[in-house]
């Protein structure tokens, strides 16, 4: 009897619609977050993450309705990220039915926001997203070093990713979502040394993200990356693999899963 490692499908939402092609033959409207959430839930997803990529301020209200609708009928944990900048944003998402919010660039711009949000709503609902790129040890003989990048990986901050992770936990993050900006979208697997170094250095659960191309990558994230949960988008959206298949594959590798 042991705690299961989690699989978390991530849905990109723009103006209330799921984008980046969700290809399920038996779904009538692949852009409807509720339909997609329902499908992932029935396949055994352990949690769901919605990433709001709506660029305009006016479009942002729609994510609240998405969360309300999904939370009204899918009874597994929901995380919402993208554009969470104020305590009021956090409150709005939690009131709509989200269980956690993922804070990304706002944490870099103002670390005190993480502390404030954790104190108000509890550590358990504050996920800090760590977007990191390797800046040393890749092609040179230096020890590996990763830095926090913002703006989708374009803007360096000079902040060491491991130190930043520890700081965010001390500020009240209840979970860390670690994305390798080197590997994101490349489908060669997670950055395992990055994931493992962070996971071994913090007391809170770590979600590995960025780079999943096949089911072995998910298992490696746990076994070699020491991740507590793995997040993936495209391999599930394009119906390359079902969540059930992914879980069975990980269980076959000796990982404790909820099947």
């Amino acid at each position: 009897m042991a705690l299961a490692k989690r699989i978390i499908p991530c849905l990109d939402v723009d103006k209330g619609r799921v984008v980046k092609g969700v290809q399920f033959v038996d779904i009538r409207d692949a852009g409807d977050p509720v339909e997609v959430a329902r499908r992932y839930n029935s396949e055994g997803a352990d949690e769901l993450t919605f990433l709001d990529i709506t660029a305009t301020h006016e479009g942002r209200d729609t994510i609240v309705h998405v969360v309300e609708q999904v939370a009204g009928e899918i009874f597994i944990p929901l995380t919402v990220g993208g554009g969470i900048r104020t305590v009021e944003d956090v409150r709005m998402m939690l009131n709509a039915g989200a269980d956690k919010v993922a804070i990304n660039s706002a944490a870099v711009a103002n670390p005190e926001f993480v502390r404030e949000a954790a104190e108000k709503f509890g550590n358990q609902c504050i996920v800090v997203a760590i977007d990191a790129k390797q800046v040393a040890g890749k092609t040179d003989d230096q020890p590996p070093r990763w830095e926090i990048f913002t703006h989708g990986g374009r803007k360096p901050t000079g902040i060491d990713a491991i130190e930043w992770s520890k700081k965010m936990v001390s500020y009240g993050a209840g979970e860390l979502l670690v994305t390798s900006m080197d590997n994101d979208g490349v489908k060669n697997g997670f950055d395992l040394p990055l994931t493992r170094t962070i996971s071994d250095n913090v007391a809170v659960p770590v979600i590995a993200s960025g780079g999943v191309g096949n089911l072995d990558h998910l298992a490696e994230g746990v076994i070699e990356g020491h991740a507590d949960a793995v997040l993936a988008a495209s391999i599930f959206h394009f119906a390359e693999y079902s969540i059930g298949e992914a879980k069975r594959h990980m269980a076959d590798k000796g990982i404790e899963m909820r099947l």
Partner: protein, 233 residues
């Protein structure tokens, strides 16, 4: 003219709202479990007192939780409900039933079920960890863990032994006597995660986040008459 009579099947469930965050999921999941149930999210003493059954949910810290109950003058109302009708405590709502919690440097709780609330040790390790995983256990205990039913109880009806439920907590209850333990899991060591005492049932896990198994537990609660005889099972 015929007057419509209220359905005798309809039951009122009061979800106690003491200002501690998101009760949306609890209320929605209860409604989902039984579409005939009338679910009220309320801090109104009268409504809680007249409800057929009561749910005490909770997130956040125990000091804020007990503090808000005091501020809203709900302590007696909650104790009254816990003494008289089907009553379900969830997460912090379970911990609040105990005598005392170690959280926030020590907080006196409702003392409805004798026992303490303790924190998971910082260096928790899993002695049974397979080679596929490291044995360093994270805090909070977050995710889906198995619940071993220690007793037969109406709320476990149609829920398989060792079913997984969703947890997120850093503190856990240690009842004074093993008698009220209804379910346990293992996280570094055995942990009591469900309590049963007469008309009270309480879970450390979140039924409202535990998919079908959680909905089943809510349906069982809504159908429960509140009787449970520990020696009779």
């Amino acid at each position: 003219m015929t007057l419509s009579t209220p359905s005798t099947l309809s039951t009122t469930v009061a979800v106690i709202d003491y200002g501690m965050g998101n009760l949306h999921s609890v209320a929605k999941a209860l409604e989902h479990a039984d579409t005939h149930a009338k679910v009220l999210v309320t801090s109104d003493k009268q409504q809680i007192a007249s409800a057929d059954r009561v749910v005490l949910p909770g997130v956040g810290s125990i000091r804020d939780c007990i503090g808000e109950m005091e501020r809203l003058d709900l302590i007696d109302t909650i104790k009254q409900a816990a003494a008289s009708k089907p009553f379900l405590g969830i997460c912090i709502g379970m911990q609040a039933l105990m005598t005392h919690s170690a959280e926030n440097d020590g907080v006196n709780c409702l003392d409805i079920i004798p026992g303490e609330v303790e924190r998971f040790a910082d260096q928790l390790s899993d002695p049974l960890a397979s080679e596929a995983a490291d044995n360093h256990l994270k805090i909070p205990h977050m995710g889906w863990n198995q619940v071993n039913q220690q007793i037969k109880h109406p709320l476990w009806q149609n829920i398989p032994q060792n079913q997984r439920f969703y947890f997120v907590h850093s503190y856990f209850v240690v009842p004074q006597s093993p008698e009220p333990i209804a379910g346990s899991t293992v996280y570094g060591h055995p942990v009591c995660v469900a309590l049963a005492q007469e008309n009270i049932f309480a879970t450390q896990f979140h039924p409202e986040k535990s998919s079908d198994a959680g909905i089943q537990l809510f349906a069982n609660f809504i159908g429960w008459d509140g009787t449970y005889n520990s020696s009779g099972c």
